[in-house]
Amino acid sequence: MQNAAKSLFILALLATSFPLSAVQLIVGGAHGHATIAGALQLAAAGDTVIVMGGTYREGKLLIDKPLTLIGIDRPLLDGENARDILTLSGKNITVMGFRFENSGISAMNDLAAIKCIDITGVHIEDNQIARSHFAIHLANASDIVVRNNTIEGVPRSEHNTGNGIHLWKCKNALIEENDISGHRDGIYFEFVSDSRIRCNTSRGNLRYGLHFMFSNDDRYEGNRFIENGAGVAVMYSRKVTMEQNEFLHNWGNAAYGLLLKDITDSYIGQNYFVHNTVGIFMEGSSRMQILWNSFSKNGWAMRVQASCNDNRISLNNFSGNTFDIATNGTLVLNEFDRNYWDKYDGYDRTRDGMGDVPYRPVSMYSMVVERNPFTLILLRSILISFLDKAEKAIPSITPELLIDKQPLMKPVRV
């Protein structure tokens, strides 16, 4: 009932808001065109094609002129496990209100439910995409909006499952409020610039919740990455802003909340890292600002490899992590200051909110584990707590420079 009312409302809206020159073509229903392909053939640039509820199995659909394609009562486009379902190309194309199922699966071609090639101005909104190889695949596109789509893959193995929302060589994209699960990477960015990824939920994907490569000047914020195979990977990029995201339960061998590899001049702020094997794994990254984040219940809150330098880690909360910081070298060129560490047991006689003695976030045991992972079998034994206490009193093998000189006495309010 509600759906019918909503459809009527949309129809009324369309009737009043489109310029008179634009024509509406209706597919399905009592008087509409029989096939979508037929209507697309007839439509001229700027027209609107309205598809009524029902199931359509029409082979490969192609839109290569500016069109608006709207589904009423969520018509189903079935790819019959054989092909790309809908291909968009050209400029100013909108697709909304559909359900896509069963795109073909191919190891050779990146078959997708919605494939966009060489396009400017594409708007994909409010669609459901299920059991597809790739769900939304954009290549060489710009001015993109992908909003409020629900994407549900069938997790097979990494090499025969495609990505949820895949962007290659794109500019100026907004990926917003989508829900993606069961794909290889939830969202994949390669050579994408000046784009934003906001408020998406990427859950239970085989590899990464978000995979981000060679993409500069981008921003992702307010996303939730939950229980993905290995978390989120951001690699080989510059000037990326990562803000207010949640990295949750990325737990397993070689899993992390956030993997940073060769990232420079980026900002990581106000994110939550909860229950990840490693909260942030940093390698070859420099000039990063890591501020106001919360790390809790992670195996390692952060692993900062010796190849990182000039990073500033400040005003973060570390609590309930098995290890706070681990590193593989003794030379540390990063700055840790004014973080809150729950393991800190110093005092604040000056009453300025900061401990009077510095905190060493790398424990002796974490250095031992770094050299010989089997020693993790001794976790929480008395011996280890003695060794850590002794090391705290007389530091010998932990990196001398890795200290927080002004550890906060109370958690930072984020």
Binding site: W251, G252, N253, A254, A255, T277, K297, G299, W300, G320, T322, V368, V369, R371, N372, P373, F374, T375, L376, I377, L378, L379, R380, S381, I382, L383, I384, F386
Partner: protein, 258 residues
Amino acid sequence: MTAMWTLTRYIFSDIIRNKVIVLYAGFQLLAALLLFNLEENPDKALLSLLNIELIVIPLISMIFSTIHYYNSYEFIEMLLAQPLGRRQVFLSEFFACALSLVLAFILGLGIPVLLHFQDMLAFNFLLTGTLLTFACTAIAFCAAVLARDKARGIGIVLLLWFYFALVYDGIVLMILFTFSDYPLERLTLLLTALNPIDLTRVSMMLRMDVSALMGYTGALFKEFFGSFRGMLYTGGILFLWTLLPLILSLRIFRNKDL
């Protein structure tokens, strides 16, 4: 056999009125209540309780059992002047002692834990805590029949506790570094079996999902300890840690001059 359980029942009802046992149960209960109330995260509270399980249970079980044995010396003599076998009398003392320590553990830690957790983790906690109490009691009785005087017996038991709780892990650490070039999976598994405290700790750690920190080896261990088979293994080895000292002490006790 019935004579043995009758005797066990009477000795048990004596021991549970003992101040030390009452204090022991009370201490555990207090610690559990405090931790579960102060710590907003029950997982973290359980970790702290695990430390009690690993340090306090062996220490108290061993010292209490040793002292109990020496204090019961004249009573044991009196019982052995009755038509009772030595094995019956010894096992009665052992079971009464171990069961009252277990009761204190269940009442003190077990019930608060069960109120917050009803999963395999809680079950594993109770199982290993119970078996660890049995093992430590057996080890203590063994030390007590070996050493004639009380001071020496307590000394031996304290050394054993120190060895199992601390020194042994130092040796493990050394071994792991000495042989770090070899595949260590099996060796590590074996090393945990040779110390009841370590075995308890590792079986709990791996259930608390620490295995992910260990990479692929951890997955291997988790597969092992996390499965039903792993619980059988842990339980079986801890049972052996009870059985073997008990058999040894029975052999000594059978021909001992009292």
